[in-house]
């Protein structure tokens, strides 16, 4: 680690840097191993979500029955008027806000401000939990009121239900896991575990996971809800 640090301070940048990072007999990525592994895990998760979204694209192209209009399906009646996609828009804003608070938690972590880091991480977890709550509401509405099932629905193409439950369910599962993960790390920050260890990189690694969940939602929002 120390050795690597000394090596890489003088390491060249740009393409020459790529070659030297990979070819010299040393650690290729000058970041904590946990961070590199989290990035690689997220890369694999990217492929999983992409397979779901590609599968959704495929069934949507190939169906001969019209696809239900998400703008209408996900509309909410507010004050006697149908507002299209409003719940999804609110969920999007909540997730972005939680990403903002997480980014600041990472920042305060590196400044060794335990109180603010813990508070911001718990705020992130709370926003994440409210996101899952809204998703539960949305699922309930779709299943109970609209009669959407994985094998069919009254609005149009049968594949709508299976794509929807698969994609948002997997994403919601990630958010739920993220909330638990954040709570565990926040508790450790509060107890001062990382003070003893002398490094707050765990907060940044948890942050990477959380931002990824937000990132996936950006794609789901655009490709499933808006398309």
């Amino acid at each position: 680690m120390t050795n690597n640090m000394a090596d890489s301070v003088s390491a060249p940048s740009g393409l020459r840097g790529v070659a030297s990072d990979w070819s010299a007999d040393k650690q290729a990525f000058p970041v904590p191993w946990g961070k590199a592994m989290m990035w690689i895990f997220l890369l694999s998760d990217t492929f999983i979500f992409s397979c779901f979204l590609t599968g959704y694209m495929n069934v949507r192209i190939s169906t001969t029955v019209p696809w239900p209009n998400p703008s209408e399906v996900f509309a909410l009646r507010i004050g006697g008027q149908d507002v299209p996609l409003i719940l999804i828009a609110i969920m999007t804003f909540i997730l972005i806000t939680s990403s903002g608070t997480m980014a600041m938690a990472v920042n305060f972590g590196y400044r060794r401000d335990r109180a603010k880091t813990t508070a911001l991480m718990l705020a992130t977890a709370a926003l994440g939990a409210s996101f899952v709550g809204m998703q539960a509401f949305e699922w309930t509405k779709l299943i109970v009121e609209e009669g959407v099932r994985p094998w069919g629905n009254p609005m149009g193409a049968a594949q709508f239900g299976s794509s929807f439950f698969m994609i948002t369910g997997f994403h919601g599962g990630h958010v739920t896991a993220g909330v638990i993960y954040l709570c565990i790390v926040a508790r450790k920050v509060w107890r001062g575990d990382y003070e003893r260890k002398g490094s707050y990189e765990i907060v940044e690694i948890a942050g990477l996971y959380w931002h990824f969940v937000d990132l996936v939602w950006v794609f789901i929002f655009a490709l499933f809800y808006l398309w």
Binding site: D21, S50, M102, E204, F219, Y225
Partner: protein
Amino acid sequence: MEHAQAQQGQQHPIAIYLWIWVLLFVLSTMSYLVDYFHVHGYLRWFLIILFMLLKAGFIVAIFMHMAWERLALKFAILVPPLCLLVLVGLMAIEGDYTFLTRLASFLK
């Protein structure tokens, strides 16, 4: 310099996160408005994809600190997903083929 920073952990002014936060809000609102004002056809697809990629780019570059990482890590993480474009292309062709087959066999 860039590298020494990565070693000690990513430390940047709070202001940059707040700006990106605001920017993501604006971009999300704009993509929501695309739907709200019933923009259709190629313009809709173009705008949705544009806002999506901009948001994804800012999240990865700033929130996930990719902009400050070394090029070797950027390549290792950001290049492999490009393979997915091949999958998307193949599945789009496949989807069209299935659609035409269904038209030919079911809707005679």
